[in-house]
């Protein structure tokens, strides 16, 4: 059974600081996704990582994927209050074929304080 573990589950940051969220998964996959969810809202796609060594950046967020270590990271640079949300990583169980089953981590609830 594929397990996706995120840590930390809760993160309180000061504005301007840097931090990394980790996503470990338990079986081979080369498709990993990061989503953002604001309270009571839907899931917003942030990054799609489709190969080992993939690195993508958007604003203050940078995501990377190491398929050998089965690890993805979401790095936050100089956090601002607007980044406060819950961040989910999700691994595609059915890589190599039709997309199907995304297994989500439990999410990291990020709170950025002034």
């Amino acid at each position: 059974e594929l397990k996706v573990e995120q840590n930390p589950l809760f993160l309180s940051m000061q504005e301007g600081k840097n931090y990394t969220i980790y996503c470990n998964y338990s079986t081979t996959s080369d498709r990993l996704y990061w989503y953002r969810q604001d309270p009571g809202k839907s899931l917003e796609s942030l990054f799609v990582l489709l190969s080992n060594g993939a690195v993508k950046q958007e604003g203050r967020l940078m995501a990377s994927l190491d398929t050998k270590a089965r690890l993805s990271t979401l790095h936050i640079t100089a956090a601002v209050h607007d980044l406060s949300a819950t961040y989910f990583c999700a691994v595609d169980l059915n890589y190599g074929g039709s997309q199907g089953n995304l297994i989500f981590g439990k999410g990291t609830k990020l709170s950025v304080k002034p």
Partner: protein, 113 residues
């Protein structure tokens, strides 16, 4: 910008009743999904749908659940006889390609009383 739309936004139903949750995926997308999120918990996969048939389904998606694409634009999730534990936010999603990200709708909050 194209988006996935879901209706209703909130549905309250009595235990044992049937509910149909509706979704309009992004128009040129080919892959459709339902996920659910019990309050405060992680998002769980229910089912994927491609080429007018189910591609994958999880253990949650038992005989009480069914999906349909009745008219080429809507994608529905039916729960035949709702249970209290079906209370959750149900998200519809669609994607254009097998390895592209899925775009999620705003969700339907289902409350079974």
């Amino acid at each position: 910008e194209p988006e996935v739309t879901q209706t209703p936004s909130h549905q309250v139903t009595q235990m044992g009743q049937e509910v149909i949750l509706r979704c309009v995926p992004i128009s040129n997308h080919l892959y459709f999904y339902w996920y659910r999120q019990i309050l405060g918990q992680k998002v769980e996969f229910l089912v994927s749908f491609y080429n007018n048939e189910i591609s994958e389904k999880s253990e949650i998606f038992d005989d009480q659940f069914s999906v349909e694409r009745p008219d080429g634009s809507n994608f529905t999730l039916k729960i035949r006889s709702t249970k209290l534990e079906d209370s959750a936010m149900y998200f519809c999603a669609s994607s254009g390609q097998a390895d592209a990200e899925a775009f999620f709708g705003q969700g339907t909050r289902l409350t079974v009383v």
